[in-house]
């Protein structure tokens, strides 16, 4: 499974919605994520990709779309 597919699967899990967001679609503006599911998303990303996301990286903009999440994860490798 590629990174983007894994991210989409995590977004589906934490949002509880069977969505298929476009890579650049804002997950906040479309109502997929809210403040609390964002926190769940970050925790799920840490678990799925075996990394620790420092608090200093916890800017919601970095997790606003599948493409941005992917870019962030790539920046950590």
């Amino acid at each position: 499974m590629d990174t983007q597919t894994r991210i989409v699967e995590i977004v589906r899990q934490v949002s509880g919605k069977p969505i298929d967001p476009a890579p650049d679609e804002s997950l906040f503006e479309s109502g997929v994520l809210d403040s609390f599911t964002l926190a769940d998303l970050v925790s799920a990303l840490e678990q799925e990709f075996s990394l620790t996301i420092p608090d200093s990286d916890l800017s919601p903009r970095k997790f606003d779309s599948v493409a941005r999440i992917q870019a962030y994860l790539q920046s950590r490798t």
Partner: protein, 310 residues
């Protein structure tokens, strides 16, 4: 050593329910309750100030403690919504409460200011004896009561709380506290001069969701106490969902977190002692289990405190 001796509170008489607030901010009252868990809040009347509410809370606390004002050795007042750049409300509150000639300092800290004040009081009590911590906020005057300000205006209310920390005795000994600050997110929650309160809710919730369970866990772990052993968690009443999530992260029932946000909303730094006063007035005495106080807010500042029954 330092002890929690008593709590007190003072709330404006004016109750603003969702039916009254909804039209002010262009929101459906039913949605307000669903979105925030807040059914009503208190708004200060025209003649009330941060100081007048603080004075009433201070007197309520001293009355509950049975300590004459003249015996208080130090006063700390937290507020993020004080009306003046200086002086802050501490000197006015101390004078009006009858605490003359003793040091009275301001902590211009919203949200976590009362917790930081109590933690400082615990350090000061061995030298100054009875240290009175007051937190007073009039948030209704710093938010924008307009549809454009809806997302923040619906969250807040006004009120004041107080806590007396004593070097002699109390109902619980302050065992330890962990305080922290992260200025990287200072802009996420702020009140600029001549502007309404600004809050990046996503950043705040995201940071709080991570930092609060961590700091509570830290103070418990280093004192060899399990979360399951805590009788009551007294937390800054910022958000019902946040409290539920912190409880989940700690593995304790949400019912262990005392919650009165439905009746008062978020009263910023005053919310912790207001909640503590309500809990303390209604709890079974003497205490049988340790308690934890915790708060998070603008700064970002956050922390947790452990206190054990004496």
């Amino acid at each position: 050593m330092a002890y929690l001796r008593a709590f007190g509170s003072a709330l404006p008489a004016r109750i603003v329910d969702n039916a009254e607030l909804g039209p002010m901010v262009g929101a459906d009252p039913a949605w307000l309750l669903h979105a925030t868990g807040i059914g009503q809040r208190r708004f200060a009347e025209a003649g009330e100030t941060v100081a007048t509410l603080g004075i009433a809370a201070a007197k309520d606390c001293l009355s509950a403690a049975g300590i004459p004002a003249a015996e208080v050795g130090f006063v700390i007042v937290s507020s993020g919504s004080a009306e003046k750049r200086f002086p802050g409300p501490a000197s006015t509150i101390a004078a009006a409460a009858g605490i003359a000639g003793k040091p009275a300092i301001d902590l211009p800290m919203a949200s976590a200011g009362s917790l930081f004040g109590i933690a400082l009081a615990a350090q000061l009590a061995p030298r100054y004896g009875h240290v009175l911590v007051v937190a007073s906020e009039i948030m209704s005057r710093v938010v924008r009561m307009h549809p454009a300000g809806r997302d923040t205006a619906i969250l807040f209310g006004d009120g004041a709380g107080a806590c007396l920390v004593s070097n002699e005795t109390g109902f619980a000994e302050i065992v330890d506290s962990v305080l922290a600050t992260d200025g990287d997110f200072a802009e996420a929650l702020r009140l600029d001069f001549d502007a309404p309160l600004y809050m990046d809710g996503r950043s705040i919730i995201l940071q709080a969701s991570r930092k609060l369970p961590r700091v509570i866990g830290e103070v418990l772990e280093r004192n060899h106490v399990k979360a399951s052993e805590i009788g009551t968690f007294l937390m800054h009443q910022a958000n019902l969902n946040l409290m539920t999530r912190v409880a989940q992260a700690l593995g304790v029932p949400a019912e262990r977190f005392f919650c009165n946000i439905a009746r008062y909303g978020n009263t910023s730094s005053a919310s912790l002692p207001i909640a503590a006063a309500e809990w303390w007035n209604g709890c079974e005495k003497p205490l049988r289990a340790p308690i934890v106080l915790a708060a998070f807010g603008a700064g970002l500042n956050w922390g947790a405190m452990l206190a054990r029954p004496v």
